[in-house]
């Protein structure tokens, strides 16, 4: 059974790791994402140079971003920075999960930030997307 604590600057430990649940990439999820961002590229619904349909390159970013929710209650946060390396396309029908690690936390101009590196991989462990994000913590 998981215990969830409020996310605070003091509760965070540099080096702590997170793992998401595994997500099956369904056509419906890909369709919802493309609606949300208003991108109707034909590769997301039909053939692509990679074989069948693929997901939007940033499709799994929310899975990575929500890694901290697997351990903490997050009252609010603002995204400050985001980096991606798109290594392989996320294909419809894959099962993907993200793993992350807190690599830094710092205070600047009275604001508190956490930095997380992540990788999203398929169920064989092949890295699909690597990245890093910096989030400002908003107190409860």
């Amino acid at each position: 059974m998981m215990e969830f604590r409020p996310l605070t600057y003091d509760a965070l430990t540099i080096g702590e790791e997170f793992v998401s649940d595994t997500m099956l990439v369904t056509p419906e999820d890909v369709d919802t994402y493309t609606y949300a961002v208003g991108d109707d590229h034909p590769w997301f619904s039909g053939p692509s140079p990679f074989g069948g349909a693929i997901a939007h390159p940033t499709f799994a970013a929310n899975q990575a971003l929500r890694l901290r929710h697997s351990r903490y209650v997050v009252h609010a946060g603002l995204h400050a920075k985001m980096q991606f390396e798109f290594l392989e396309p996320i294909r419809v029908g894959m099962r993907v999960r993200s793993r992350g690690r807190v690599i830094d936390k710092y205070e600047r101009r009275g604001k508190q930030y956490m930095v997380t590196e992540f990788v999203t991989e398929d169920d064989a462990g092949t890295p699909l997307v690597r990245g890093q994000f910096t989030q400002m913590l908003i107190p409860a």
Binding site: A36, T58, L78, K81
Partner: protein, 136 residues
């Protein structure tokens, strides 16, 4: 449609226009209470004038611009680094722009580095950074 030849430094990528409705934000973030993205009362309580789009929606827009320009050379091998410098609110309109900054030989191809940014309907930049794709 992906470009067949390497663009020159200074080349402007075709821009995109995006209207951020609450419905789009809801679809992106998932509707939750106590969310600055989907709960207006909570967003106000946290000091914002209304709900905010997730910063990552802007990375999706840049990704769209890059994929339409570079095709498979962005989907496999692309990079992006963005900083979110102004909040984007429900109801804002963003324009997504890119200008080729640098060309680097990479294997049998060329990595094209692009300055990218999003600006709102007031002309304020909301997200800035670089992205790259590979042309072979």
């Amino acid at each position: 449609m992906a470009l067949a030849s390497v663009p020159a430094v200074g080349h402007e990528l075709p821009s995109l226009d995006k209207e951020l409705t609450q419905r789009h934000i809801d679809a992106y973030s998932g509707v939750r209470t106590r969310s600055i993205h989907t709960d207006e009362a909570w967003a106000r309580r946290k000091g914002f004038r209304t709900t905010l789009a997730q910063g990552m929606m802007s990375t999706a827009y840049v990704s769209e611009m890059m994929t339409r320009f570079f095709g498979a050379g962005f989907v496999r091998g692309g990079t992006m680094s963005m900083a979110f410098v102004q909040p984007v609110y429900a109801g804002d309109r963003l324009t997504v722009r890119g200008v080729v900054k640098e060309l680097r030989a990479e294997g049998a191809g060329t990595r094209v580095v692009v300055d990218v940014w999003c600006e709102n309907q007031h002309g304020q930049k909301t997200a800035v950074g670089t992205a790259s794709g590979v042309l072979r």
